[in-house]
Symmetry: C2
Subunit: 381 residues, 2 copies
């Protein structure tokens, strides 16, 4: 085994293509000069393609959480009511951000491993007609669940509320139609489906959302989206942006454009199906049901007697396969396999092979090759 | 002239050493794994060296302005009074951040091109004994002025107020003794003296400051320093950090450590002196007086009849020399030459040579070589 060769299968940072890494090592340029303006314009147009939107897409130098905080602080006022539909740790985080700003959070919740229920959201909006903003998670990274954003958006729309989508771990991997589905604010980050190192967040903003932003009173300065829009009109950022990550992103967006969104989405969906088939064949548990399974990350419950975190360490030191652990109330109880960004079908074969060999080595009777065979059955279709 | 060869002489992003650029292109690693923890620990220890502190140094994925916002939102409560000493655009920005959070800002101001007056700060603190936090700028990038932070800190200290220092464009270039001078919070960013691409900010926090943070009520989530400290205790960040920039920073800190802080500071001071001598020899104006001249950036007023921004464009297209323009009320009136980070004495010779050749080409009578000669006189001493 190579000391440093890694099979990085965590849901972000995802592996970055070599040419994108090289692009991130280009010399610095003046962030107030023409080259930068061309860079930001190109990257913004590329992002609009992946967001499937004609809306403004604002580039922030921050993590995904910073992008979500920008959505909260720009759209809401202290004391205002907002609905947060949560089905896991990242939905809960949005509620925590809103509460930190004094927002009165009404929460629609479900058992972890399930998707949010549009009917429950509708019921809560009926009961709280003063709610004007609804937050939903497209892909809940902590549980491996995909929500039906289209249905949730149409409920919000029917109640005259704006819909804000956390698409951090789905954009560029699973289909999300910002304009066709009427999504007002969509937030994502660089280090997941967009195959770029972490440090950038992107926020699309509809005209309806800009209108709401005008009257929203939560404090913001670094995350001020209206100021960012003013600067973006001349293809600049208000503050010194992460130039090297933008140089990398340009190349990553070219790769996505060359593959084409439909093919990118199909690849992710196929990897998810195949991994789930392999896991089932090995007799392990899947946290999320088939109907709401994530396209980008699969949460697995290990066999009884296997500590998820200890098993992850074993896979890392024996095969260089790096999986993610459980978060929040799932800590130590699950492990998660990401199939997101610069990963393909054979990367999944490798992960499953390590998994089944690891189980055998740990004394858990699975038939070697049976998980991989089931996975290949899906891929060969 | 090479199409892409640039002499980047702006005050950030500054040129990044080739080995640091290469380090930024390393493959992604798990930000919750051992390799990352070693990375963050090493980088934090290195930063403590450059900050000259034993205080916590918190790493944030954001621009320098985000680091300053963290200082404001973690230390203050809405309605609380705070003193901002400003001598330029970046001091004014801190006041704007504080006002965005509902802080009652008392401002100590001076004419742009001068340093803040510790006596005026003392007078304002006498008049406002309820002020518990004072913000000062170490190096005002917009005017090329260095403040006497030691004197300003001792005034704040005498009034039992915390002192927060914007050291974004000075840390790692000009001497700033966080512990010896009793500085409670010091903020800097990656893309200036630290020779790393932009996208990271660093905030040192004293025990006194942590105590004040406990009772401060401004909203914060992404910029929550106490939460970041909790995660830093196991060498992690609360949110996915800019892994590749941290990988780069590790190498940049090694370069600083190898040169040694005293030599780094002497190099910057010598470049500043030499550039000023060259500018004087050419008969151009210096915005800042000798007594308060910045070690990292020199603001120059062009001869009458020369538009600063038009002249900058000329230097860029003819020599690949990129200078910064004026900001705020100085827009179009000055240009700024940075001598910061990965720059040496001969880089200054090149900049001055381009400047004097440019002036002659634009029909302004200066003696070719006279600026460079004056510069060399300083360097040869």
């Amino acid at each position: 085994m190579f000391r440093d060769k890694q099979h990085l299968r965590i849901p972000g940072p995802t592996p970055v293509p070599p040419e994108v890494l090289s692009a991130s090592a280009r010399p610095m340029i003046n962030h107030r000069g023409d080259e930068f303006r061309k860079l930001l314009e190109g990257v913004t147009r590329g992002l609009q393609g992946v967001f499937q939107t004609g809306n403004d897409v604002i580039v922030l130098t921050t993590s995904g959480t910073g992008g979500l905080e920008a959505a909260v602080s720009n759209l809401l006022s202290p004391g205002e009511k907002a609905l947060v539909a949560s089905c896991g740790a990242f939905g809960d985080r949005v509620a925590d951000i809103a509460r930190a700003y004094g927002v009165d959070v009404v929460k629609s919740e479900v058992e972890w491993g399930r998707a949010n229920d549009p009917e429950d959201v509708g019921r809560l909006l009926d009961q709280n007609p003063d709610i004007k903003v609804v937050f939903v998670t497209h892909n809940e990274t902590s549980t491996g669940v995909e929500n039906d954003v289209r249905a949730l958006a149409s409920v919000a729309r029917a109640h005259d509320a704006l819909i804000v989508v956390d698409a951090v771990s789905s954009l560029g991997s699973a289909n999300l139609e910002t304009d066709a589905w009427g999504l007002d604010v969509v937030v994502t980050a660089s280090q997941k489906g967009l195959m770029t190192p972490p440090g950038l967040a992107f926020v699309s903003v509809s005209e309806r959302a800009w209108k709401k932003i005008e009257s929203a009173k939560c404090p913001r300065f670094y995350f001020d989206l209206a100021k960012a829009r003013t600067f973006a009109q001349r293809w600049e950022n208000p503050f010194t942006p992460a130039v090297s990550l933008l140089q990398a992103l340009r190349d990553a967006l070219s790769i996505i454009e060359a593959e084409g969104l439909p093919s990118v989405f199909a690849r992710h969906a196929r990897m998810a199906l195949a991994v789930r088939a392999g896991i089932k064949a090995l007799g392990l548990g899947l946290l999320a049901g088939d109907a709401c399974a994530s396209k980008t990350v699969t949460a697995v419950t290990p066999p009884a007697g296997v500590d998820a975190d200890e098993f992850r360490k074993f896979l890392k030191s024996n095969y260089g396969v790096i999986l993610a652990g459980g978060q929040g109330r799932l800590k130590g109880k699950i492990f998660r396999i990401a199939h997101m960004g610069y990963t393909d079908e054979l990367d999944m074969v490798a992960a499953l092979a390590a998994l089944e060999m690891g189980l055998v080595k740990k004394g858990h009777p699975v038939k070697l090759g049976s998980g991989v065979a089931a996975l290949e059955e899906v891929l060969a279709k």
